[in-house]
């Protein structure tokens, strides 16, 4: 078999059994792998309302047909039901763990059941072993990875949880290859609830390629396209993702103090340019990646990876903090303890507004940079103020009687682009299948950055079609499993060509887009059955009722009602946001 290995292994940690998961050729064609096949398998294995932390819940680590082949092909998609939101959730991580799973001979790993005591899984070309993890339980993610790599003679890639996952914090991350994170949605808590500390994978089984000459030629062309593109070939290499700080701030949509303002007075002091001047040791790259957006950094006392744009914002402008070293150290703490930085920062922003409003007098205060890393640590261990912060913003705000102060969609915190500055992003957030997510449909690209074309960010015209299109393309890339940053340099036709040369399967653009549409619709169906509908495709009241008074997004409100019905119509869903029978039939769902 070309591209895929043809093997997915299911391990039941409670029963102590393993079996192969049969997948038909038709299913591979319809869902590819990664996110698509992962969501399909999850939906087949688990009833919709399965408690995310129950032993019968499934946690999937998936690769795709392109994993281990072309550039950026080391990524992994982790899938389960999110303990933070209750929606279906896939979480993508960079690095090389996905390539290690493929090298070990598997397309994916499904974990069900709960081990009676802490274990880790050791995957190699000979199979999957369940091993005692008592020596690692309680260690942070860096210590765990180091220890397991030493046991494997330095040859394994390790995905693991830290104390946050062990303590089932609903936004716990799974970390791999030092500081790469499957961050959003709290799938680290699902792993912790199974007493599964880590998965260590290694192997050198090559991926079979259908058309080796075509593959070599395509790889060269993609390499040139990436190198020539000013984003992938220059901006991300030189300044990393935090290049966006000054840009988004200049557009008046850089969320400041829990989205109360759109301009941060010290954006410059926490920008990618400032990181390059003061903290940067060197850039870093994932498996087979020439883009190299990663930043290896150090402060006076610590070092690590990042912070990325979202984290610089989450611990910076969102909290009224301009101490870049404190932001970096909070980032390192999240990576070590295994926590999603966006939800951590979003929850802190909510908490600070609750405290200021008098709703939570014991809560944290704006601008307290010196306490940031401590709050992160306390959250991971569910102690002190962290016991409250570990609720996440939605539950925290509800507890203190001010639900409107949680900047979240479907329970997941909104990232670093204020939707009053980009109407398409408003629709993207509201209709994201996993909650407040900027990556499902990154309309920032055309609305702010001018990729692939420039669109009026304040207009709602045409945004419904575009959000649906971007959601579908992103689902394709997540199912083939490559890095989304490639989308700055190449389009859907190139992804179809990649699949053709590797797998031998000829996807036209239309068929590939229908794969994306199918994946997105399946996720939606799952969420509908879990109780989500039109009422959840919305944003916090702040975005409809409050306007900035300064900055270039001033006097704007989100006009979701102008776009939502059009979006449902484009999707072939009814007015309640439920896929119509003919839509399901067309997609074979």
């Amino acid at each position: 078999m070309n591209g895929w290995t043809g093997k997915i292994v299911k391990v039941d940690l409670g029963r102590g059994t393993q079996e192969d998961v049969p997948v038909s050729d038709a299913a591979r064609r319809r869902y590819l792998g990664g996110r698509g096949l992962g969501v399909r398998l999850y939906a087949d294995l688990c009833p919709v309302l399965t408690d995310p932390l129950a032993e019968e819940n499934a946690l999937l680590f998936m690769t795709g047909p392109l994993t281990g082949t072309l550039m950026t092909s080391g990524r992994t998609q982790v899938i389960s039901r999110s303990p933070l939101t209750g929606t279906i959730c896939d979480s993508s991580s960079g690095g090389s763990f996905g390539a290690a799973l493929k090298g070990a001979g598997i397309d994916g790993l499904v974990v069900q059941g709960r081990a009676p005591k802490p274990v880790y899984l050791r995957i190699h070309e000979g199979g999957v072993e369940v091993r005692d993890a008592a020596a690692f339980w309680g260690l942070d993610t860096q210590q765990t990875q180091k220890g397991l790599q030493e046991e494997a003679g330095g040859k394994a890639s390790v995905a693991c949880i830290g104390p946050a996952g062990e303590n089932r914090v609903p936004f716990a991350a799974i970390m791999n290859d030092k500081d790469r994170a499957a961050g959003r949605g709290g799938l680290g808590a699902v792993m912790g609830a199974k007493n599964l500390k880590a998965v260590a994978a290694s192997g050198s089984r090559p991926v079979d390629i259908a058309d080796p000459a075509g593959y070599k030629d395509l790889a060269s062309r993609v390499d040139r396209a990436v190198d020539k593109n000013p984003v992938t070939g220059k901006s991300l290499q030189v300044l990393g993702t935090s290049v966006l700080v000054n840009i988004i701030n200049a557009h008046g949509m850089y969320p400041t103090e829990n989205f109360r303002r759109g301009v941060f007075n010290d954006a410059e002091g926490t920008s990618g340019e400032k990181i390059a001047e003061t903290l940067l040791l060197r850039q870093s790259s994932c498996f087979k990646c020439p883009i190299g957006c990663g930043r290896t950094t150090r402060t006076k006392d610590k070092h690590g990876e990042g912070p990325e744009y979202e984290t610089v914002w989450a611990f910076g402008a969102n909290l009224g903090i301009s101490d870049l070293a404190a932001i970096a150290e909070a980032n390192y703490a999240c990576n070590e303890l295994g926590l999603d930085t966006i939800t951590m920062g979003g929850t802190l922003g909510c908490a600070m507004e609750l405290a200021e409003a008098g709703a939570w007098p014991g809560g944290p205060r704006w601008g307290e940079a010196g306490k940031l890393a401590d709050w992160v640590t306390e959250t991971a261990h569910r102690r002190g103020m962290g016991a409250e912060l570990a609720l996440g913003s939605k539950r925290l705000a509800a507890k203190y009687g001010r639900p409107e102060l949680a900047m979240q969609v479907k329970g997941m915190e909104i990232p670093a682009y204020d939707p009053r500055g980009a109407q398409g992003m408003a629709l993207s957030y509201a209709t994201s299948n996993r909650g407040g997510c900027h990556m499902r449909a990154y309309l920032v690209a055309p609305e702010v950055l001018g990729h692939p074309v420039f669109l009026d960010r304040f207009s709602t015209a045409g945004k419904a079609e575009l959000v649906a299109l971007f959601q579908d393309v992103s689902a394709v890339v997540d199912s083939a499993v490559l890095c989304r940053f490639l989308q700055f340099a190449v389009g859907i036709s190139t992804f179809a060509e990649m699949l053709r040369v590797v797998t031998g399967l000829d996807f036209g653009d239309e068929e590939l887009m229908s794969v994306g549409r199918r994946v997105y619709t399946l996720e939606r169906l799952f969420n509908n059955r879990a109780g989500f509908g039109r009422a959840d495709d919305t944003l916090p009241p702040r975005f409809f009722n409050e306007e900035f008074q300064t900055g270039s997004s001033r006097h704007r409100r989100v006009r979701l009602e102008e776009m939502l019905d059009d979006y449902y119509a484009v999707r072939g869903w009814d007015r309640d946001g439920r896929p119509r029978p003919h839509t399901l039939a067309e997609l074979g769902l």
């Binding site: 000013p230 984003v231 992938t232 220059k234 901006s235 991300l236 300044l239 990393g240 993702t241 935090s242 290049v243 966006l244 000054n246 840009i247 200049a250 557009h251 008046g252 410059e268 340019e273 957006c293 990325e308 744009y309 979202e310 900027h438 990556m439 990154y442 690209a445 702010v448 950055l449 001018g450 990729h451 692939p452 420039f454 009026d456 989304r484 940053f485 700055f488 900055g551 270039s552």
Partner: protein, 83 residues
């Protein structure tokens, strides 16, 4: 681009000129070439270049022919992306 320009900001004496003319004046004022970060060989905007005049993207109006006046704030960003 900052490394090329050598500064994070420039005051350019000008009034009622096009953005393109302003860019050329800015390059003279900086004493360093940097317009290839923003413009293509035909002196049009590179895909992804962002030029804001008082916060408004010139692509939404007259592009490089947009007129700027004394006191206007012009932000220049070479193509960038992220997540």
């Amino acid at each position: 681009m900052r490394r090329r320009v050598g500064t994070t900001g420039l005051d350019v004496p000008a009034d009622d000129v096009t953005v393109l003319a302003l860019l050329r004046l800015a390059e003279e004022s900086a004493g360093r070439a940097f317009l290839d970060e923003l413009l293509d060989r035909e002196q049009g905007l590179l895909a992804g270049t962002i030029i804001l005049v008082n916060g408004d993207n010139v692509r939404g109006g007259d592009g490089l022919r947009t007129r700027v006046r004394a006191g206007d704030k012009v932000d220049l960003f070479s193509p960038a992306g992220g997540g």
